[in-house]
């Protein structure tokens, strides 16, 4: 999750969604996903409703469809697996689009595709409206153990350093005439990985030592926790509450 990455994940804006405090959005995301996953897969209409809900959030956050679609690429491995499932699963056969496939496999494929896709879109919306630093603060406020948050913050910082060092090493390599071929790439990667690790570490180490020398204990000292207005919680709760309504309706119909 480098600076390069987070620039691609985060989309600057000043909407209601952007302004919501990170921990409310995180909580909303988790509750939403839980609700979606718990929905019985046969209630196809429910998933359409969820999609509409997410679309509303996207509109409120001014996140264009193309942005979301581009970042859904990460889902591709699941899609491949899900598409194959109807063919390789057991059980009674049925007709679908002219092919004879497993019934349970088909349902299983739908189950995975629908729920994973909704999860991906929700995650993308969260990442697009929340800066990494805010996210870490949000995690901390959700009582995620401080050590995990600290490691995450260093990971974010080092991700920048690592990609920067990789860039420098690549420039140095290519200046000395290295031509990248697929196999050559792997070999060079293997050999330079260790050097990359050390260089990245040492770049951050001196600053970290200076911080330690001034008493740093692992938590940045001066972050004030502003009180959250009631309205923010209501706004954030809107999505999971509506999702819950959809889910309970789906259960009652199932």
């Amino acid at each position: 999750m480098s600076a390069g990455h987070s620039h691609r994940l985060y989309r600057h804006g000043d909407t209601v969604v952007h302004r919501l405090p990170a921990h409310t959005k995180l909580l909303a995301l988790v509750l939403f996903v839980l609700t979606v996953v718990a929905t019985p897969r046969e209630q196809y209409w429910a998933f359409g409703a969820y999609l509409v809900l997410l679309a509303a959030v996207a509109v409120a956050a001014a996140v264009p469809v193309g942005f979301i679609a581009g970042r859904m690429v990460v889902e591709l491995p699941f899609v491949a697996f899900a598409l194959l499932l109807p063919f390789i699963a057991h059980g009674p056969r049925t007709e679908f689009l002219g092919l004879t496939v497993s019934q349970t496999g088909l349902l299983g494929a739908w189950n995975i595709l629908a729920k994973a896709t909704l999860g991906v879109i929700a995650s993308i919306l969260l990442a697009a409206t929340t800066e990494p630093r805010e996210l870490l603060t949000g995690l901390r406020r959700l009582r995620v153990p401080a050590l995990l948050v600290e490691i995450s913050s260093f990971m974010v910082r080092y991700a920048d350093v690592v990609t920067d060092e990789m860039r420098r090493m690549r420039i140095a390599r290519e200046s000395r005439g290295f031509q990248a071929s697929h196999l050559g790439h792997m070999r060079v990667l293997a050999r330079s990985a260790g050097a990359l690790f050390i260089r990245s570490y040492e770049r951050g180490e001196r600053v970290h030592l200076a911080m330690l020398a001034r008493g740093y204990t692992g938590v940045m000292p001066m972050t004030e926790d502003r009180p959250i207005p009631r309205t923010a919680w209501l706004a954030a709760a809107a999505v999971p509450l509506l999702a819950l309504v959809i889910a309970t309706t789906a259960w009652s119909l199932a």
Binding site: M1, L9, V33, L34, V36, V37, A38, R41, V74, E75, P77, A80, F81, L83, L84, F87, I88, A89, H90, G91, T100, S102, T104, G105, G108, N111, I112, K115, A116, G119, V120, A122, S123, L126, A127, L135, P145, L147, L148, E150, I151, S152, S153, F154, M155, V156, Y158, A159, V161, V162, A190, R191, A193, G194, F197, I198, S200, Y201, G204, H208
Partner: protein, 353 residues
Amino acid sequence: MHVPDGFLDAPTSLATGALAATTLTVAIRRVRDQHEEKAAPLAGLTAAFVFAVQMINFPVGIGTSGHLLGGALAAILVGPWTAILCMSVVLLVQALLFADGGLTALGTNITLMGVVTVLVGWGVARLVLRVLPRRPASAVPASFVAALVSVPAAALGFVGLYAIGGAADLSLGALAVSMVGWHLLIGLGEAVITAATVSAVIAVRPDLVFAARGLQPALELRGPGAPRRGPGALLPAPVAAPPASPRGSVRPVLLIGGAVALLLAGVVSVFASSSPDGLEHVAGEKGFLETARAHLLADLPLADYGKVGGIPVGLAGILGVVVTITIGWLLLRLVARRRTRPVAEPARSAERV
């Protein structure tokens, strides 16, 4: 190997979630007790590295994709408990921001890619280090074997969890064969990269490699006023205290690792034995997807797993694991007794900063 939402049923997801949460709590406590100031930045860097490493993808058999895991590398660099935290952070971020791995499957993913890889990798590394000479460079072959074994171990875990609570009617034997088979190959790639990385780091900054602790030579003391070019007044090397064993002794790791191996061998092998009929059934009826089935059919001698000399396969699996461990343990004892005691242990006191 990231498991998406809906892949496993709810009880299994919850169980793995509980397992992951417990392990994390233990890991956090262990790491905090170590009071190491370098721990967080080093862990953060390792996490960033694991993140990068996991982006190297390979297509695998039945539509799942495999990628390097990085758990063994993390364990070698920062020790097992910190490594579990690193991997968990990576998986958490991937689930939250990239939806790589479902949020409800986070427990599963942490268990497989965070805990199994790390503990198996660490256990194997420790075993190998016991056999090799006590030098920092020994961490390199240890990391190679650790990575090699940790990846298919995680694949086995994946298959095992699917056997317990998979939400699709999939042929378990086929899944097992393709997952484990491909991950044996991925494990090879991971072993090469892990060993190369560890080797480079050991050469310059062995202090950054957790697995190489306790393998340094003793310190020398010299009196003041020794002329620059002449021989200094060398004081005798201090009597060395035995190095403090790193936090988190090996035994629980080995026990857990052994138990997991037994469980998987027992459970998975039982299911694997029932699949040949399903495979033949599918192979006989359907006439398409030749390529996919080429994978499956090529390994059809699964029938051999049906009965091994009259013993039911599950039992055979368990026996196999027990025998392997016993032989290994006996070998280690023999080797350890023959080795001479190391002369100078490092004189660092564990209470020092």
